[in-house]
């Protein structure tokens, strides 16, 4: 008997891109994500001068998807607008590029915080070293097993 009968629902799609028109505006459907990533990404995206608008929503609380809407500044469109004349105007970015860059930024931010954590908590460093060693041993074991298998097959031949 399973202790919990109700399992987490998986999203039908891991990633979906919605919207037509210029590629600077898109809605992304991120499967198997929720407010955790949606809100964090939104904050990174609105802190980019090239992004005009970014918002996120979870359309239904029981569906494991989050929608992220990204609208970037479109400088190629309507060339006579004052913003495009400005030499300091930020360059154009497509929505998908903005999303990927934001993901990279957020990931780098995690690295920064992790670095700070390792500075103050020696146990985290110790733990990392231990886990790395363990992973190495596992890899070595795997390689040895592979070699043994190869030898076995060689013998058979």
């Amino acid at each position: 008997m399973s202790v919990n009968e109700v399992k987490i629902r998986r999203a039908p799609c891991a990633f979906e891109l919605r919207g037509t028109g210029p590629p600077t505006s898109r809605t992304f459907v991120l499967g198997d994500e929720d407010h955790t990533l949606g809100n964090a990404l939104r904050h990174v995206l609105i802190n980019d001068a090239r992004v005009d608008f970014c918002g996120y929503c979870v359309p239904h609380p029981s569906e494991p998807v989050v929608h992220v809407r990204v609208q970037c500044r479109n400088n190629t469109d309507g060339g006579d607008s004052s913003s495009s004349m400005d030499p300091d105007a930020p360059s154009t970015l497509t929505a998908i590029e903005a999303l990927k860059e934001a993901c990279q930024t957020l990931s780098d931010q995690c690295d920064l915080v992790l670095e700070k954590l390792e500075e103050v908590a020696p146990e985290v460093v110790e733990d990392r070293i231990r886990m790395d060693k363990l992973a190495e041993e596992d890899d070595r074991e795997m390689e040895e097993e592979m070699e043994e298998e190869e030898e076995y097959f060689d013998e058979e031949e």
Binding site: T20, D111, V120
Partner: protein, 479 residues
């Protein structure tokens, strides 16, 4: 702790002012939006600070994270609670249960028992597959426990039954809570024997003695002074915590504890998790056992039997709360307290002793013939009580606010991992979440309208591009 300096409002964009009716955000002129992600990061890294404030026990950690947005802090908190994986009993195979507790309730109770094993030594179920591609249970993803208890007519007969069963399970290679205690004791004695002759041995011996005492009651370890006192009081009283209450005219009752759970080591599990090693929390120790050996699972009356097998799997708190590695993980914003007008004498004493003890301090002063003056000594102790606002003079003199980018995190681990490691794991998980989308192909654009479907295959995901946009179908990734 020194009083915090005036927060830099330009980096936070404002501050939360506390007034009688609640809390209000006061906007302040902020820096212009960063021109790209790199500038955003440099801005963050120049402000980012992380300090450990307190470690009340081994399983608790209080730290402050300064210079991040609330969305990041909240993501961290949410991941710690719901997405850091742990091992817990998930499948129960009930062979026999004539006890009072229903099968469902018993399996639920078993599921909630925290296991003292680092989940990172295990894979997720479904990673290993058999020849037909179905998920297979292996020694790298499943921990097997057995519970095999019955109740005799009285304490004497019950003990006899237990002894008989003990020899049986030992021959089968099963490990109970009693065996782990024994093995660790043996290892300790061996160590003590080896080190005699050294100059520093006396100290070490004393230490190991203390540890031995702790081993007798594993769950008493790391308890606060008051808890320890309570445990000692119970131990010294006539009531033994280990054996059930046996009184005349009352049928014998057998208490089933987690120490009765038998661990059945699979594959190389016994060599990876040796019985002799000690160490609770992060790391390998004492085989694979429940975190506490004295959790009551069920009570049995004479003749009743429970026989079952339980399989532990890896899971996350999103699926079931039993998988959550933390009892609580929360944050609050640092209170910022300013004294606008000096507070003297009686009023100062009233403030120091009645409102928010620990936050303010009286210092002697010579100003204008006053005796003492109140100063802010420790804003961390502030609970944001607004009681002082009932005094009109105090209300005018003190301004209370919260710093919006200064988070005081409190993480309380259940015990499978050290709290700092849970934080580190949470950060790694957030990183992994981001990496999923970095790997997307760069030009995900819909084809012209006359083509209905086109497929682009990236190494990581199948991306389906149709005229409505692109979607990824059936992508598998590890979380």
């Amino acid at each position: 702790m020194p009083p915090s300096p005036e927060p830099d409002l330009s980096s936070t964009g404002g501050i939360y002012d506390v007034n009688e009716s609640g809390i209000q955000f006061r906007h302040a002129p902020s820096l212009p939006t960063p021109k790209d992600g790199t500038e955003f990061l440099t801005r963050i890294s120049s402000n980012l600070k992380l300090h450990i404030l307190d470690r009340p026990t081994k399983d608790e950690l209080v730290f402050e994270l300064i210079g991040v947005d609330v969305s990041f802090a909240n993501a961290l908190r949410r991941i710690m609670i719901a997405e850091v994986p742990t091992m817990a009993l998930e499948y129960i195979y009930m062979w026999n249960n004539t006890g009072l507790i229903h099968d469902e309730v018993l399996s639920h109770r078993l599921g909630l028992i925290p296991l003292n094993v680092d989940p990172r030594y295990f894979d997720e179920y479904g990673f290993d597959v058999d020849e037909e591609g179905n998920p297979a249970a292996t020694d790298r993803n499943t921990i097997v426990f057995r519970l095999n208890v019955s109740c005799g007519r009285n304490a004497k007969e019950d003990e006899k039954i237990r002894k008989k069963m003990e020899s049986k399970w030992k021959s089968e290679g099963l490990v109970s809570g009693y065996d782990v205690e024994e093995a660790q004791q043996k290892e300790k004695n061996k160590d003590a024997g080896n080190t005699t002759g050294d100059d520093a041995t006396t100290e070490e011996k004393e230490e190991s003695k203390e540890e031995d005492e702790e081993d007798l009651e594993p769950s008493v370890m790391n308890l606060s002074l008051s808890d320890r006192a309570a445990t000692n009081a119970v131990a010294s009283s006539n009531i033994s915590t280990n054996s059930p209450i046996d009184s005349p005219h009352r049928p014998f009752t057998r208490h089933v504890y987690t120490r009765d759970l038998l661990w059945a080591p699979q594959g190389d599990q016994l060599s990876r998790f040796p019985l002799s090693s000690s160490g609770v929390g992060s790391g390998v120790g004492g085989g694979i056992r429940p975190l506490h050996e004295d959790i009551l699972i069920a009570k049995l009356r004479p003749g009743q039997v429970i026989e079952l097998e339980a399989h532990a799997r890896k899971g996350i708190g999103k699926d079931h709360a039993k998988f959550s590695p933390v009892a609580t993980a929360s944050y609050r914003l640092l209170p910022h307290i300013e004294i606008l007008k000096p507070i003297y004498d009686e009023l100062a004493e009233e403030l120091v002793n009645w409102y928010e003890p620990g936050v303010f301090k009286c210092v002697p002063t010579t100003e204008d013939g006053h005796r003492v003056k109140a100063i802010v000594s420790n804003p961390y102790a502030c609970t944001m009580s607004r009681n002082f606002m009932r005094n009109p003079i105090l209300k005018e003199s003190i301004k209370m606010s919260r710093v919006p980018n200064h988070f005081i995190f409190s993480v309380e681990s259940v015990g499978m991992m050290e709290p700092a490691i849970i934080v580190a794991e949470a950060l790694k998980i957030l990183k992994k979440k981001c990496e999923r989308f970095i790997e997307l192909p760069f030009t995900l654009e819909p084809p012209p309208f006359d083509r209905v479907l086109a497929w682009v295959t990236s190494p990581e995901m199948n991306v389906n591009i149709n005229r409505y946009g692109a979607s990824v179908v059936g992508a598998h990734y590890t979380s």
